[in-house]
């Protein structure tokens, strides 16, 4: 909330501290000062009087003025339509800086005529246009006829020499959304005396009838004033306070409501008493229908909207807006002032639904304290003489079902120090209780009415902590509970898989959980069930909670390609949330060329780059290749001949391969892996086994292949043949001979014995057995055979 320094100093004596000390102390006691601004700023001004005013010979709107500055007469060229002889004006002298418009005044020629200064409007001095009337915005400021010519402290004369503090009042301190509340806080923090705040002396008749038909209002006070004659103009210092808070002065009656609200924190509503002769004012929450606002706009209300009614109809949309049938006008003479406490949530919901927010609706939304309404009424009554030349208060009544006092609670000095790890003395703590007017009787504390946030011991812990410098508590690890912290197995594995992929040259990405419905439907891997959908999305682009990571991966690849990053190797590990359950998936995307270790060399990514990554992950997790199987993927988003589904038993644990050209013309390889499932498996237990120390031999075989046989089939068959001493079979070459239209697959066999060195005879016999077995099983012959 914004606070005028000048106005605060009329409530609490600030003469002994400076602005800087105030800002520092507030910030370190939980009231961060987020901004310090000046209502207006300008240097080198003087009050002048226009002596002569003639039209500029070469312009249809400029005037040539001579202005008496009290220290001489200056020639001024001025474009304001309201410049005229005898007008007292604000004159900016050469050298004057006007930060609001970014100008430093210099003497100069304007269309051939000398100008030795500038007549100013308040806008040029930095006052917000919204706070001024049309005449003030379009012309120069018209000073009163008794303004002292030659006065240099123009901002002081105008009451514009004020500092505005933007103080961040936190939600637990609703009392400080008011000048009086903030003044009390400052008074407590600095031990400064408060100026006298009016106290209600209820001597009025009760011939006014506030009441409530709903529990959403627990207090409703009404004051009736008759024969009110407003002053001609709201006092200037009050106008400046309103302006400091961004409120424009409109008329004395309206200004009274706003000013009283700023002081007390209690919003008021004004009714034209003559429009409601029964004097009944009833709060209801069951009205439905269309009503007309004071500005003529129609709005339709539903149950739950709080309204102030008489026996027949609504008079006011409670806490938000006056209605036309009861609102005050310029001719209003008899007034009823409402000060009530409405349930914050109703006001918040109504004002959000109708898009109507105001200073007062915001205050209600933060929750008002019904115990403080008496003070608000007293403040309002004390202000009446400033706003009315004559008036008569004829009735005051209060409907009050609220609690009268804040509840007391138990307090212990030792518990405070034990919890904070501090060593505040009893005297130090008592000083805080005293500053905040908390009464102590035995072990019980009685907070003052204005402090609804003081409910139990911990709230006092906070008051003590923020009252003294934070450095009173010595940071320490003494008493820190000793525990054994560690990552779970899955958390460790997740880190290791990420490291593995980074080591292999992939970049980790982080994408949005919320995607569009279209993206969500574009690629699905593990389920085709509907995804979670938001009821209140901000945009269509982020409306669905993704069920798979690949839509995001694809979008990231496309984004990078559009920015000329042609070669991409990316991955993301993320939790995925679906109505059927939560998962942890890994997505991988490869696109463009793979850099090779040789300088400046690369080759396009292919299926086997992706397969290599998938195999490496399984390897790292200790999942033997015999525990999973591959089959050509049935997923329509993938190339049917260059993609695979990976199954463990019946469970699909990964899909990878080339993206189907229908999805993207670009050649992209994608993978999605159910990491959470893999992490939950028992990996191989690491156990040492002895290894042979006899030499092994390698023999290569190249078979002329046909369409039906795969590498995997050959490998299995070779390993199946008995007594061949084959320890492992590896792929080493794939060769296509154009001339004979033949495809040859080269296999490398490792042979060895555990108990001796193989003889040539043994090796030859093995190779013959293998070749004839392959020939018999698949009909394949060796290359060159």
């Amino acid at each position: 909330m914004l606070f005028s320094y000048k106005r605060l100093s009329t409530l609490v004596d600030l003469s002994s501290i400076d602005e800087k000390a105030l800002i520092e102390r507030l910030t370190f006691s939980g009231f961060e000062v987020e901004g310090v601004e000046h209502l207006a700023s300008a240097s080198n001004l003087v009050i002048g009087e226009i002596l002569t005013c003639e039209n500029h010979p070469d312009s249809d709107h400029l005037h040539l003025l001579t202005v008496d500055t009290g220290e001489g007469i200056r020639n001024i060229v001025c474009g304001a339509p309201n410049a005229r002889i005898g007008l007292k004006v604000i004159l900016a002298l050469p050298g004057c800086e006007l930060p609001a418009i970014g100008v430093t005044i210099k003497p100069g020629m304007i269309r051939g005529q000398m100008s030795d200064g500038m007549c100013c409007s308040l806008v040029e001095l930095g006052v917000d246009k919204a706070l001024l009337d049309e005449k003030q915005v379009n012309g120069i400021e018209e000073l009163p006829s008794d303004a002292p010519v030659g006065e240099h402290n123009v901002l002081g004369y105008l009451g514009l020499d004020d500092t505005i503090l933007d103080i961040n009042v936190l939600p637990n301190r609703p009392d400080c959304f008011s000048y009086v509340g903030m003044a009390r806080e400052i008074s407590a923090l600095f031990s400064l005396p408060m100026k006298e705040i009016p106290v209600l002396k209820d001597t009025y008749s009760k011939n006014i009838y506030p009441s409530s038909a709903t529990d959403k209002c627990n207090r409703f006070d009404a004051i009736k004033i008759i024969n009110a004659v407003p002053v001609d103009k709201t006092p200037e210092d009050i106008v400046r306070t309103l302006q400091a808070n961004g409120i424009r002065s409109l008329s004395p009656i309206v200004d009274l409501g706003n000013y009283s609200m700023l002081l007390s924190g209690q919003p008021l509503n004004m009714y034209d008493a003559d429009k409601n002769p029964s004097d009944q004012y009833i709060i209801r929450d069951d009205f439905e229908g269309v009503v007309k606002c004071f500005d003529g706009k129609e709005i339709s209300l539903i149950k739950g909207d709080l309204v102030v009614c008489n026996e027949k109809e609504p008079l006011c949309l409670a806490g938000i807006m006056a209605l036309e049938n009861a609102a005050v006008t310029d001719s209003t003479k008899n007034i009823v002032i409402e000060a009530a406490s409405f349930y914050h949530a109703n006001i918040r919901h109504t004002s959000a639904r109708l898009g109507l927010t105001s200073f007062s609706s915001n205050l209600f939304a933060k929750g008002r304290n019904p115990k403080m309404i008496s003070e608000a009424v007293a403040i309002t009554l004390s202000l009446l003489p400033l706003f009315f030349k004559s008036y008569e208060v004829v009735a005051y009544a209060s409907y009050d079902v609220s609690e009268k006092e804040n509840k007391p609670f138990a307090f212990s000095y030792d518990a405070l120090n034990a919890r904070l790890g501090s060593s505040y003395t009893k005297e130090e703590i008592d000083a805080v209780l005293k500053a905040y007017r908390v009464e102590k009787k035995g072990d019980m504390l009685y907070p003052p009415k204005d402090r609804v946030d003081l409910k139990e011991q911990c709230d006092i812990d906070e008051e003590v902590f923020r009252f003294y410098p934070a450095s009173k508590i010595q940071p320490t690890l003494v008493n820190y509970p000793i525990t054994h912290g560690s990552l779970t197995n899955a958390q460790k594995l997740q880190r290791e898989i990420r490291s593995l992929l980074v080591d292999r040259g992939l970049d980790e990405i982080l994408s949005f959980t919320l995607i569009s419905e279209k993206e969500d439907a574009s690629i699905r891997v593990f389920s085709s069930e509907p995804s979670y959908k938001l009821v209140n999305p901000m945009t269509k682009d982020h409306e669905v909670i993704r069920s798979d990571l690949l839509p995001s991966m694809l979008a990231t690849i496309e984004y990078n390609v559009s920015r000329q990053h042609e070669n991409l190797a990316l991955f993301e590990v993320s939790d995925v949330h679906t109505p059927k359950g939560n998962h942890k998936y890994l997505s991988i995307g490869l696109r463009g060329n793979r850099p090779l270790t040789e300088m400046f060399e690369s080759r396009p990514y292919d299926f086997f780059d992706m397969k290599g990554l998938i195999e490496a992950i399984f390897n790292r997790l200790g999942i033997a290749s015999t525990r999973y199987r591959l089959s050509y993927s049935k997923n329509p988003a993938f190339h049917p001949g260059a993609s695979a589904d990976v199954f463990m038993g019946k469970d699909l644990v990964a899909t990878f391969g080339q993206l189907h050209p229908n999805i993207s013309k670009d050649k992209i390889f994608l993978a999605e892996v159910d990491l959470g499932f893999l992490f939950s498996l028992k990996g191989l237990k690491t156990k040492f086994t002895s290894y042979a120390s006899f030499p092994t031999v390698r023999r290569n075989l190249s078979f002329r292949m046909n369409e039906k046989v795969t590498y995997e089939m050959l490998k299995k068959e070779i390993l199946r043949v008995k007594n061949t001493f084959v320890k492992s079979v590896d792929y080493f070459d794939d060769y296509y001979d154009k001339d004979s239209d033949s495809h040859y697959l080269g296999l490398s066999l490792l042979l060895g014995k555990e108990d001796g060195t193989l003889t040539d005879a043994e090796i030859n016999a093995s190779m013959q057995a293998i070749v004839s077995s392959i020939k018999a099983t698949f009909g394949l012959t060796l290359r060159g055979e």
């Binding site: 914050h344 919890r419 008493n479 912290g485 560690s486 990552l487 959980t513 991409l568 939790d575």
Partner: protein, 348 residues
Amino acid sequence: MNLEEFKKKSEEEIALAQKEVDDVKDENSLNLFKGKFLGKNSNLTSFFASMKTVPNEEKKDFGILLTNLKTKLNAFFQKKEEELKQIALNHRLEKERVDITLPGYQKELGSKHPFYAIVDDVTDFFLGLGYDVAEGPDVESDENNFELMNIPKDHPARDMQDSFSIDETTILRSHTSCVQARVMAVAKGQGPIKVICPGKVYRRDNDATHSHQFGQIEGLVISEDATFANLLETLTLLLRHLFGDKREVRFRPSFFPFTEPSVEADISCFECNGKGCSLCKHTGWIEILGSGMVNPNVLRLNGFDDKKYKGFAFGIGIDRVAMLKYGIDDIKRFYANDVNFIDQFRKE
């Protein structure tokens, strides 16, 4: 030939060989030198042949002289041979010279995302202090996210965190504090608890400085004697770990519904060391995180005896820490995933 004569001849031979060996410049002349002084037709060979004519009593001295001569001649040859070899090798090495300024062969390395680099770093810090890492889902109940965190329905504080809803009771979590409720539910009223909870959170907030998705790391400690002073030290250590040992840390009272008292921690600006610059908005300080003592009502709501147990909690913005630490100008970069961005964090 008597001994004296042989001695003289031997010396002459050595002198000659010494003179001639200096002229040997290549393999060819080295071979000629070898033939002349050590070969079949050399004087040395004829001296050996004449051994049989030497009287027996002189044979020993003669033999010593002869062996000495052979050793010396051989030494000339071997030294020269080695010299020539070295010259040839040096010549070859010269030819094999590489341009050492050319780049080395690389196996291209990828990079962690800076968001996860911070998560990993902060996790390691807290593992060292004996914390576990707790996890919770992004799709969370309204109860865990708000009610059990002391933010009942209609509470004004809900306005501070406008959340995305899936249905009446389910939302996308608006902070990682909801993991506190999950951890406390599992603990069934028994301390101690020491966990951090990193994760993604979501708010209906999207402007120049906000993203509807961002990251937080929640911390929660509950034990019979944890204190506010423990919290302040934990945060001081953490912030110095993240931003350097020289950082000053200060604490300002604040408000959060789930902690009381609450504090925000600031660090002295690392750009200007507290002098004031654009990064710290000329205050010399940068706001980093919020924390406080667990509100007793949160303990009660989550099945802990607030007379027996105390606790503290803190929350760190992952994106914010990464932005400050690495000088990233716009939170939207995290989620755009331009590889030019990600590749800058190779060493993290």
